[in-house]
């Protein structure tokens, strides 16, 4: 019951840890960035998940809707901002990876490190 009641929290944790593991364990820089994206997506899911109110409808005022239970729009707004931040970070990260490939010839972290140490 605990699993089903808190289903969205379990999803959040799983994806968070998958992303975190990828960032730490993988040597390939692109994979690291993918892990980072996963990591951030998990947080988005957390926020959006809590925005849903039981029995709540879309948070839009309209004369035709006569209920007064709405889902919370604020977290969705917050996440829009966070998604933009995430996109910028990924874009910047990828640009850096392109530059690294140009100057080092490799995007594997261990190879880059050994090149730097042998300098």
């Amino acid at each position: 019951m605990i699993v089903l009641d808190l289903f969205h929290y379990w999803v959040f944790i799983t994806i968070l840890m998958m992303g975190f593991y990828t960032v730490i364990a993988k040597q390939n820089l692109i994979k690291k960035l993918l892990g980072l994206s996963l990591f951030q997506s998990a947080v988005f899911l957390l926020f959006i998940g809590i925005a849903k109110v039981d029995g709540g409808t879309t948070p839009i005022f309209h004369p035709a809707i006569d209920t007064n239970v709405f889902s919370n729009p604020l977290p969705q707004v917050l996440i829009l901002t966070a998604i933009v931040v995430g996109i910028s970070t990924s874009a910047l990260g990828l640009a850096i990876v392109v530059r690294i490939k140009e100057t080092y010839g490799s995007i594997e972290e261990d190879q880059i490190q050994s090149e730097d140490e042998s300098e």
């Binding site: 820089l29 980072l36 957390l46 910047l92 990260g93």
Partner: protein
């Protein structure tokens, strides 16, 4: 219209609006001039704000006149004021000193982008300091971080690229942890405004999510602030960034993260979580000590000059955390004062590196040999800054060291071990500062060529070095602000 009311938002808006204008500049010189002028305006604004809040008052600024907690609020008090002075001062000094150095390191076609990014970084850092809304802090934090990544990546040294990649990964993880923490707080209280959070958290029954939120926020901000053991991104980033960027970031980026850390912890958590005060000390104190010792030890054996001083920064951040974890008026004053004094000392050192690096093609281990003798004025400025870092009486560093030791002596329980660590690390600081000074003055220079020193840079270095002495003998304004900030923070504890 009373312009003073709008200072908080102006501090953020001016650099932010000028950034795209810098992009439109036709050449490097104009872009630099625009950036420097904006930075000077920001500095003047910061001083004005400091005058406003000197009596300990705080000014709230609701954006768009939407009242808190519905709208986003900015708030400045003495703690914000001193950090704003550090940020804008560091930016101005680094820009003034960095013109020739950046001209050498940044390509012409990227120069305008670089200066635009600098202004965004300034806007982001200022925004973090004035925000009173937890999510707003996140947004500005990411603006500042992304802009910093761009600044660091502009280096002509290719080793900056893996360094900034690591910085990006760790910084984003830190920011995301912070976001998770804020999310958890929002779930439990329904508000993001710091002042409102403080009130609403008291009404929450289940303390477990609050505790978790505190953990996530602390870890996230510790990553940004390079508190041991989450400091791994710092040495290489400072070492390989363009020299002026190092001067800018070393003086202020970690201080801002520490500022947020202290503010959120004291304003939101201290009163609500049971036993939080002692938990704070128990977790942070050993980390602070470890950071101090590890940073100083690594600095002693580091051949690369910039990385040596980057490790020194890790140790100095340890001092700040040490002072804060004592949770006393004396400790917090010492910590905040050290933020200011370390920015002065480390800033002067890295600015001197900016000047001296114009004499050598690459900054390898022996690159700075003999340069102190060739250019004695800069050499002496470097020595003064080094003495301030060590904490010799008469310099600014001594004031914060004295305050820190006084706070430790008051702390009774662990006084002696803490004192031993602080004194031991001072000796280690003497060793690594001496190492660099000896190389500067007594070793023979590698190359015989000698180009003229950039004059504006030399003047900036002299001014900042002299400031170390001035604030060492007359700490007036920063000390008042630090004391006031400490009392403001402590008002929010049990």
């Amino acid at each position: 219209m009373n312009l003073a009311l709008h200072y908080p938002i102006l501090q953020v808006i001016i650099p932010m609006l000028v950034a795209p204008i810098a992009l439109l500049m036709p050449n490097r010189k104009l872009a630099w001039a625009l950036a420097t002028t904006t930075s000077l305006c920001a500095f003047a604004l910061a001083i004005a704000i400091a005058q406003l809040v000197l009596e300990g008052s705080s000014h709230a600024y609701p954006l768009g006149d939407w009242p808190a907690p519905f709208g986003i609020e900015l708030r400045v008090d003495s703690f914000s004021a001193i950090v704003l002075i550090i940020v804008s001062g560091a930016s101005t000094a680094a820009l003034l000193a960095g013109f020739q150095s950046l001209a050498l390191e940044i390509d012409q076609d990227r120069a305008t982008l670089f200066y635009a990014a600098w202004l965004l970084a300034l806007a982001g850092l200022s925004g973090i300091v004035v925000s009173a809304d937890a999510f707003n802090i996140f947004v500005f934090m990411e603006i500042a971080s992304l802009a910093s990544y761009i600044l660091v990546a502009g280096s002509s040294d290719r080793r900056a690229l893996p360094a900034v990649f690591k910085y990006l990964i760790m910084g984003t993880i830190g920011a995301t942890f912070y976001l998770i923490g804020v999310g958890l707080l929002y779930i439990m209280t329904g508000t993001l405004n710091l002042a409102d959070l403080e009130v609403r958290i008291l009404l929450v029954e289940d303390q477990a999510p609050i505790l978790m939120a505190a953990g996530f926020i602390s870890v996230g901000l510790a990553l940004k602030a390079a508190i041991f053991p989450l400091h791994a991104w710092l040495p290489n980033t400072y070492a390989y960034a363009p020299h002026a960027v190092t001067a800018f970031l070393a003086a202020c980026s970690t201080k801002v993260a520490l500022y947020v850390f202290l503010r959120i912890d004291f304003f939101v958590f201290q009163r609500t979580l049971t036993e939080h005060a002692s938990q704070f000390s128990i977790y942070l104190l050993p980390l602070a000590l470890a950071g101090i010792l590890y940073g100083s030890a690594m600095a002693m054996r580091e051949p690369h000059t910039k990385r040596l001083f980057a490790w020194s920064s890790v140790a100095q951040i340890g001092y700040i955390v040490l002072g804060a974890s004592l949770i006393s008026n004396a400790g917090l004053s010492a910590a905040i004062m050290h933020m200011f004094n370390h920015a002065l000392a480390k800033g002067a050192i890295f600015l001197a590196v900016v000047v001296l690096a114009s004499q050598c093609s690459t900054l390898g281990p022996n690159a700075l040999n003999g340069l102190g003798r060739k250019h004695p004025v800069v050499g002496i400025a470097f020595v003064v800054a080094g003495l301030s870092l060590v904490g010799i009486p008469g310099t600014a560093g001594f004031i914060s060291k004295w305050l820190l030791i006084e706070a430790i002596l008051d702390y009774h329980r662990w006084s002696v071990p803490l004192l031993i660590v602080v004194l031991l690390s001072s000796i280690m600081a003497v060793v690594y500062v001496y190492k660099v000074c000896e190389a500067l003055f007594f070793k023979t220079p590698d190359t015989a060529n000698s180009q003229p020193l950039p004059r504006l840079a030399v003047v900036t270095v002299l001014v900042v070095s002299a400031a170390n002495l001035v604030f060492g003998m007359a700490p007036g304004l920063p000390l008042e602000l630090a004391n006031s900030a400490a009392s403001v923070l402590l008002e929010h504890t049990l």
